[in-house]
């Protein structure tokens, strides 16, 4: 192996290593943003989503139940 080809291999390894590190860092950042509700506001410039059809939803709701488990209710 010549000195020039040895240097070329080292440069290639350095590039691959740097690329892998950058990919990992960007992936981690994207994951953090995706999992944090507060950061989702960063994307607020996206247009508000709309559906393609109407929808019917049955909403059941309670409040102030105080954790009662009695047979009634």
């Amino acid at each position: 192996m010549t000195k020039a080809s040895s240097h070329g291999g080292a440069r290639r390894d350095l590039l691959i290593g740097t690329g892998a590190f950058l990919l990992f860092a960007l992936g981690s950042l994207a994951l953090l943003i995706a999992l944090n509700p507060a950061s989702q506001a960063w994307f607020s410039w996206f247009p508000s989503p709309t559906g393609e059809g109407s929808i019917a939803i049955t909403l059941l709701h309670t409040n102030d139940t105080w954790g009662y488990l009695r047979a009634i209710g």
């Binding site: 508000s48 559906g51 709701h61 309670t62 102030d64 047979a71």
Partner: protein
């Protein structure tokens, strides 16, 4: 609770899309087993009934140590929400402010609010300011907006008047309704199922049939308050579990 479980199961089976929400102060109050188990039974009951979200009320916060509350939130199989409950002395929220649920090709955004107040560990700030801060952000991510609020009906009406784009406010805490309130000019409807009554809390439930157009705007609605009397059947599995939790398996 076994009647509520049966009613919820029946309605879920009937509906193409269903949401089950709680507007707060439902973790514990004045009686066992919720007090004895530090609200563990309350969370398990809601898990069994398939709740989709809960907004924290100040009573949920003030009657539990912060460590206990965090344990209960970890046990919940549904989001526990508050956009204005912060760790005391910080601006860090105690929990997620909202959740966005996909339903068919729509996105339903649910924002939680707590009534103002505080403990040594947690402070709930002005709910109106929190609503004004968070709802416009949520509206960018969802086309159907539900405010799940324990701020009280009076404050919820202020929010409905100040923040456009809320389809439905599910209200808790003070007040009680026999008919929905429709806020003008926003058209936001306010629903409130119950007010806590010692010995009979949790016997009332609200049911709304909501129709949204393709843009996610509320087109039609129908709402009823249900009082779970003995005419309603029980979920036998939940009844057996509740019996064991309340009486330790003994009559």
């Amino acid at each position: 609770m076994a009647r509520r479980a049966a009613f919820i199961r029946f309605q879920r089976d009937q509906a193409q899309h269903a949401l089950v929400l709680d507007a707060g102060n439902s973790l514990l109050g004045d009686s066992d087993p919720a007090v004895r188990t530090r609200a563990r039974t309350s969370i398990e009951a809601m898990n069994r009934m398939g709740y989709d979200a809960l907004a924290l009320g100040m009573q949920d916060i003030s009657l539990l140590e912060l460590s206990e509350l965090r344990e209960r939130m970890a046990e919940a199989q549904f989001p526990v929400l508050s956009a204005n409950a912060c760790l005391t002395g910080t601006t860090e929220l105690l929990t997620d402010p909202y959740v966005v649920l996909a339903m068919a090709d729509h996105r339903v955004g649910i924002l939680g609010l707590t009534d103002a107040g505080g403990t040594e560990e947690v402070v709930a700030t002005d709910p109106v300011l929190a609503a004004r801060k968070w709802l416009p952000r949520l509206q960018r991510m969802a086309d159907i907006i539900i405010l799940l609020s324990h701020a009280g009906l009076d404050i919820d009406q202020v929010i409905a008047g100040q923040v456009p784009g809320i389809d439905v406010i599910v209200s808790g805490h003070t007040g009680s309704l026999t008919q929905p309130i429709v806020s003008r000019p926003s058209g936001t409807i306010l629903l409130h199922a119950d007010h806590a009554v010692r010995g009979s809390a949790g016997t009332r439930l609200g049911i709304a049939h909501l129709s949204f157009d393709k843009a996610g705007s509320l087109a039609e609605y129908e709402w009823r308050k249900i009082i779970l009397t003995s005419e309603f059947g029980e979920d036998p599995e939940v009844a057996a579990w509740a019996q064991e939790m309340v009486y330790g398996g003994c009559e």
